[in-house]
Amino acid sequence: MSYGIRLHVWGDRACFTRPEMKVERVSYDVITPSAARGILEAIHWKPAIRWVVDRIHVLKPVRFESIRRNEVGGKLSPGSVSRAMKAGTTAGLATYVDEDRQQRAATVLRDVAYVIEAHFELTDKAGPDDSVGKHLDIFNRRARKGQHFHAPCLGVREFPAHFELIEDGQPLPDAHPAREADKDLGWMLHDIDFARDMTPRFFRAQLKAGVIDVPPWQGEEVKS
């Protein structure tokens, strides 16, 4: 773990949607490795590197809240865009919100805080001037200054994530005494395998002393 980083992330709300309950969204109890990777990539990412989440510390008690919103059901169809492009006008190319309305509830997390422990690996896209030190420096510099590529979020974009780099040797932030220290969280999404037609891969998430050890991506414990 020589290139490891630790990032403290927190926010008022979060929604790490369970794939089996994604219509009326229900969040997992904790952040998924996939969402944690997304936060790191929002701060720094290049095709030359791949983030690997090693450990997730859960600092706050797991609490939920329900929010129901008006959403639209449909997606934009590329066929109708092509037609509009050909016709050279945007007339008629629109979604009428009140015709395509769905009311959906979301069960989201309240007041979350995590520490993400992660490192990165160089991919085969790495060129001669991509060194581990360079990318680590860029990440640390940005995280220290609060810089990011786009604002990182806790699962969905309406729940922004605040973050702070935990420097080497610096202690972890204090955990809430009422937080869950041990719990079997069941099968949880590890990440999506984009190389193989977006196959989701799952692992058995166990919270032990407030920490989830994330198994290696190609490990035995990860099933698709």
Binding site: R13, K75, A94, K145, E158
Partner: protein
């Protein structure tokens, strides 16, 4: 259009007097409440809706400012003018399978639709390029203090159907309910990413339009339910660097909303009961604050 070169964050304060800023469909259209704190909530999508509606009114669907997600009430299709569309090979009728075509479609949508360029959109191309992440991100707005929803009963001197009239033997009166907040000052946080703006072509003019929309949108969103809503403050943080010069939460923390002196012991009923201060001293290097409202 050249994209914006700086990252921005903003704090947006708006208030409501005797109205319902955002109804909760789960609670019979009561104003949204955070059950733990009793503070009021306004969702990000409610605010985005008003931004879209304002742009529709302001630009009237002019070139580059069409709105994809429309409400019928503001639909104004006949006024739409011809567009500076791209020259596209007409023979290609199939759905875009290749990435280049998908990108072309995405680029066209971004160039023509303000809301796609600003907030993003999802297109079903099956390729990742069909999904646009917009540079502008809004979080839920929360009231500064707990709010008190009131239920107001109202009467109507008419009925809808004949059957109802018969049941009332000609009395023809119905009761309805309105939910209002006597007063609530809400605070919303927003983010504008320069890097995502590069990808959608969100320009400085677009940014001006966004500020303009935030400042003026409630002026064009009057209704029986809303009561009096008004934008009160728009505090914008501009980072020198496109990636940013400081963490967002540090900037947000520099904006304090407190009760005005001598009003602490009674419920707030207007904006004068609050005092907004921006700690300019606490601004990190490379970040400039501007109060646009």
């Amino acid at each position: 259009m050249t994209a914006i070169a700086h990252r921005y964050e903003f704090v947006y304060l708006f208030d409501v007097t005797n109205g319902n800023p955002n109804g909760d469909p789960d609670a019979g259209n009561l104003p949204r409440l955070d059950p733990e704190t009793n503070c009021g909530l306004v969702t990000d999508v409610a605010l985005k809706r008003k931004i879209r509606n304002f742009v529709t009114l302001d630009k009237d669907g002019g070139p580059g400012f069409a709105i994809y997600m429309q409400e019928k009430a503001v639909l104004n299709n006949q006024h739409k003018r011809a567009y500076d569309a791209l020259e596209i090979k007409p023979e290609d009728k199939k759905l875009p399978k290749d990435e280049a075509k998908a990108r072309e479609i995405t680029a066209w949508m971004c160039a023509n639709f303000f809301d796609v360029r600003t907030f993003g959109a999802v297109m079903t191309t099956g390729i990742n390029a069909g999904q646009v992440r917009g540079p502008v991100q809004l979080a839920f707005a929360t009231s500064v203090e707990p709010v008190l929803p009131l239920e107001i009963s109202i009467t109507r001197m008419a009925v809808t159907t004949e059957k109802e009239a018969e049941a009332q033997s000609g009395d023809n009166r119905t009761m309805g309910r309105k939910h209002i907040l006597p007063y609530g000052l809400y605070r919303a946080h927003g983010f504008v990413s320069a890097k995502l703006a590069e990808r959608t072509g969100f320009s400085d003019d677009d940014l001006q339009l966004l500020w303009n929309a935030l400042i003026n949108m409630f002026e064009h969103d009057r209704s029986a339910a809303r009561g009096e809503m008004a934008a009160r403050k728009l505090i914008v943080f501009e980072h020198e660097n496109a990636m940013g010069n400081a963490p967002a939460h540090v900037l947000f923390d520099a904006v304090k909303v407190q009760r005005a002196e001598g009003t602490e012991d009674r419920p707030a009923r207007n904006f004068a009961d609050y005092r907004v201060s921006v700690d300019a001293e606490a601004m990190p290097k490379g970040v400039s604050v501007r109060e646009l409202l």
